[in-house]
Each structure stands twice: as structure tokens, then as C-alpha cells.
Symmetry: C2
Subunit: 326 residues, 2 copies
């Protein structure tokens, strides 16, 4: 997508954990801090944006937070507001299940006030806001809390599966849909809410959260630049109060990201079917249990997102799902 | 370039060592082996090609060699010859200076017989062949030794700076040139030698060896595929004896790689001049020694290869330096 990226790997694993078995190591908080010291001492601490994803443990989360705070302080010395933008994906769990240590939750609660955009899923939004999300009203309330209590400029809640007041006709169609719900606060901390509904594939993928976050970084920057006004010079790229929810750079960015994802997932799904037919045609071996494990591993591999061979979907997706008012 | 790549990081450093200071860690031999075990146990050991570069220490070199040997054995079970191709960059030193531990040299000497293509610089070719390279004749002899003693199918010696029998007219031009020298063995182990001369920039870059190696992987595969014959099905993609040195896939690949490199280095050089003018215009600080160090760091940063913003140079370079007979 044209971005020069420096990666600080928080793990080196043989494969993602969806396979249910893996080898490799996590980095320690000390190693994160050490690498940052290395960058700083050689004048390599000039980043415009930062994306943080899975971070192993509360101490490592703190270490990542320190990098973000120092990058912001440094850039504020040289530039006007808008000199640094932190996209924080608070990876903690999903579907009411925590998959990090308990102390990671308060670590993120103490840090998100320094982020520009957070990308929690529904469960993570509940953990951060301490609001149980059960319907459109509680969802709105959770977002209000995140805007006001944590001063968060931009929020996107990924993968909201409950109905958000769709018309009768759409809820009776056979295709299952989900939504992302986003908001950029006004100058008085009020939410400007939008939702984007998209169809769900009948496939299990891993890494869609990482893909969403990575694409949001590029598309948010692009959407702000495309405005051609001075929002890119304002702190955290927050649009003036006159801008409607559906015209927010955040909404434009999310539309493009979802378009890319839909195309990549669609092609991954097609390829997956083919690959499974080919590999499961091979002779069976071992006990039933072993065979079930083997099938799970082959299916996990077949479901790996087909990114490289579908670069066009990332670069020039056709937007088909648009931001709507909530 | 369209390749789906899995990276096994052998270091995680804050920056390359040309800065003369860095932080971070090297992986151990155990970690390399462990990651490979992780891949194997989940059916993720299906690679068509492997590129190995800097590997920290003799034990780690052995661990990488084991991966290559097992990948070849596995692919040979499923496919005809040509099922796996190992590009080995035996990173050991440069300009008569070793920058790895002494025992790395015998570790590579024991392994290169399993590689398909090696990419030593002149000094590394001397270490592997135990032939001192001082002129075109000794260079040819070193390559003969590598072909026969180690059964190496393909060799490219990068950055040969001595004259290789150029005509009087070209050696009196003002532009400094260097050459790469390559060879694919015949069925009887004889070299098929070619050289490609290219102009040298008056800039110090880091990472050109890695760039050369990475591009050779893609271009070698492409050159073999473009032939449209069955050389891709033969072991190690060795062309029949009737193929002339200048028509070898290896020569075609190297031409494209050098074209890409020349374009990227040219743009890096331009950008570097601009960036140095901008940053050195800032106020001086500290002692003379501190200022010299600061300048070295800023220059190292300015010389970082501008790859991402010049993808077109990687994808569609204009070939201007052609393989010549030696």
C-alpha cells in the first residue's frame, strides 16, 4: 500500500494460534523497551503512525504504551497537532472469553487515553468501557463512555453481531450479516455514530482483526489527506463539528477497509474449498482422533488469508457496503 | 513480487549493524529448530524455495541446513526433481574481513553441497573454495572448484571489483564499474561463465546483498518458467548442455536483478542527498566526536534503501546491463 513500515515483532511463532498448536517465543517487556532505546539512540524514532496489536502481558503493554507516548511528545515538538497517530487494537479476547492474563485489562484501561483510534471487538469494548453491550442503546452508551471517560477521538467496534434496528425486510433475508460501528467525537465529546453492515462468510478465518487494523492505518491516513482541508493538521485528525457522521474520514476509511476484506475473504473462501477437496482426497491415516486433528490443521492452513496473490483487492477494492446512520 | 513468503527471523535488531550501534537479540539454533518443528507438525512444511541469509553462529547454520535438507527430501517424495530450490547466501564477511565466528566457515563448507544456488561475495567465494582470487583465471578456478568439489549447480559471485579483461576503451572511462560473475554447471561439471558489469554509485549502502539475494529468488524462478521447457522439472533447474552461458536462466535472472538494484540505488542516492542537506542544516550539538557520530547515524538512515516507494523499479525494471562472455 506504499507505507514504509518498521515491524517490532511481539512474538515469533511457527503459526497462528488458531491451529491450536505452535512453537516459538514471545518477546519480553525488556526486549520491547530495549529495541525502542536502540531506535531512539540512532535517530530512528521518527514515525508518523503506530499500530499496536497483540502484546504478550501487562508489562509489555506498558512498554508499548511508553513508545507511543514518547513518539507523540517528540512529534509535537517538531510539528503542529496531528504529527502522530496511534491506532490501538486492544487484543484481549472475543466472545466473552479473555485470552490474555487478567492484568492486561487494567493495563489497557490505563493506556487508551493516549490512543487516537481504538479497534476493540464487542467483548473488548465491554471490558474497556465497563458497559455490558446488549442492544443499540447500550452500544451507544459504551462508545459515549470511551469518548468521554478516556477522551478517545476515534472508535471502531469491529464485528457487532446483534441487530441494530435494521428494517424488517433485511432481517428476513437469508444472508447473515454483521456490522462495524464507528464514531469520531465532536468538540464536546459527543459521539458521531455510523454503522456498516456486511455479509458474513460461512468460513472460519484467522487474522481478520489484524487485517482490519492494518488497512485502517493506511485508509485513515488516506481519507484525511483526501479531504484536502486542514484536519490532518489538527490533533488526532478530529473533523470539525459541522461534519456529519457519514462524511467522517473514519467512515470513509472503514468502507474501503471492509471492501478489501470482503474481496480477500471471498477469494480465500473459494480457494479453501478447492484446497480442502484436494488434500482431504489423500488417504486417511491414524485413529479417528488423529484424523480429526489432521483435518483441523489442513483446514486452518487452507483458511490462511490469501493476501499476496490478491494485492489488487487491497489496493483498489470496489466499495459495496456503505456507512449508514444509527 | 507476488510470492507468499514465510519469514523466520534470525535476529530482531533495532537497526542494521552499519549504524555501528544497535539493540536486540539473535535467535538460537534451538529456536530455529523449534520453529521448524512447529511448522512440520502442522503440515506447514510445503515450501518450493528457501532463501537463507545471515545466520548467527555455526550451530544455527547447521539448524538452517537441516531445514533445507528436510524440505528437499519431502518435496522429492511428492514431485519430480526441481521440487525444491535453496538459494544460500553464505554471509561470513567482506573485503578480507570475517564478521562471523571462525567456526561458521567450516559449517558452510559442509552445507553448500545441499544448495542449488550460492551467492558469495569475492571474499566468501575464497573462503568456500580455498582459492585466492586475484584475476580472471583464479576466479574461474574458484568457480570450477565450487562446481566440482561441492557439486554446486549455480553460483553467482557478487561484487567482483578487479578488471576481467575489459577492452581498453571501457577501462579508461571515468565511471567506476563492478561485475557479478555467474555460472551454471554442465552435466560434466564444467562452468558456463558470464559476467555482468554495472556502474558503481559513490554512496555507501547497507542491505544490497540481501536485496540481490531476495530478487534472485523471484527472478530465477521466473526465468526458468519463461523458458517454457522442462528445465523447471529437472533437478536444481540445470539447463541442458546445449544452452549457452548467456542464455542461462541464471544470467537472465541476474540481468533483471541488477536492473532493479540500479534503479533503486539511484533513487536512494538522490533522496539521500536531499535528506542530508535537510538534517545537517539543523544546529550542531556536542563535541566534535559526538557530532561525527551523529552525522554517521543520520547518513546511515538517509542511505536506507528506498524499496517501498519504488516498487515499480522492483517489478518492471529496464535492463541496461547485459550478460557478457568471460
Amino acid at each position: 500500500m506504499g507505507c514504509d513500515v518498521s515491524a517490532l515483532n511481539t512474538v515469533q511463532f511457527s503459526n497462528h494460534t488458531g491451529y491450536r498448536q505452535w512453537k516459538g517465543t514471545r518477546v519480553s517487556a525488556e526486549e520491547i523497551t530495549d529495541l525502542w532505546t536502540g531506535l531512539r539512540q540512532s535517530y530512528l524514532d521518527t514515525f508518523d503512525m503506530m499500530l499496536s496489536g497483540y502484546v504478550p502481558g501487562a508489562a509489555a503493554v506498558e512498554a508499548v504504551g511508553t513508545i507511543a507516548k514518547e513518539l507523540r511528545a517528540k512529534n509535537n515538538n517538531y510539528k503542529k497537532g496531528g504529527g502522530f497517530f496511534w491506532v490501538l487494537d486492544p487484543v484481549m479476547g472475543d466472545n466473552d472469553k479473555l485470552y490474555v492474563a487478567d492484568d492486561v485489562v487494567p493495563a489497557y484501561r490505563g493506556l487508551i487515553q493516549h490512543a487516537d483510534l481504538i479497534l476493540p471487538n464487542q467483548f473488548e469494548a465491554e471490558l474497556l468501557s465497563e458497559v455490558k453491550i446488549t442492544d443499540a442503546a447500550s452500544l451507544r452508551h459504551a462508545i459515549e463512555v470511551l469518548h468521554t471517560k478516556f477522551h478517545l477521538p476515534h472508535i471502531v467496534i469491529t464485528s457487532v453481531s446483534m441487530p441494530l434496528g435494521e428494517s424488517q425486510s433485511s432481517s428476513t433475508t437469508t444472508t447473515r450479516t454483521m456490522s462495524v460501528v464507528g464514531s469520531t467525537r465532536t468538540s464536546t465529546g459527543k459521539p458521531r455514530l455510523f454503522k456498516i453492515r456486511f455479509p458474513v462468510f460461512d468460513c472460519y478465518f484467522s487474522g481478520t482483526g489484524d487485517m482490519f487494523a492494518a488497512l485502517m492505518v493506511v485508509r485513515m491516513r488516506e481519507a484525511v489527506a483526501n479531504l484536502g482541508n486542514d484536519v490532518g493538521e489538527t490533533a488526532s485528525w478530529v473533523s470539525g463539528d459541522e461534519v456529519d457522521a457519514l462524511d467522517l474520514p473514519l467512515a470513509k476509511a472503514a468502507e474501503k477497509v471492509l471492501a478489501s476484506m470482503h474481496e480477500v475473504l471471498s477469494r480465500t473462501c473459494e480457494g479453501m474449498t478447492e484446497e480442502m477437496e484436494r488434500t482431504t482426497g489423500l488417504e486417511k491415516m491414524g485413529t479417528e482422533e488423529e484424523e480429526a486433528k489432521r483435518l483441523h490443521l489442513l483446514r486452518s492452513k487452507a483458511a490462511e488469508l490469501r493476501l499476496v496473490r490478491n494485492l489488487g483487492c487491497l489496493r483498489n477494492p470496489k466499495v459495496e457496503y456503505w456507512a449508514e446512520r444509527m
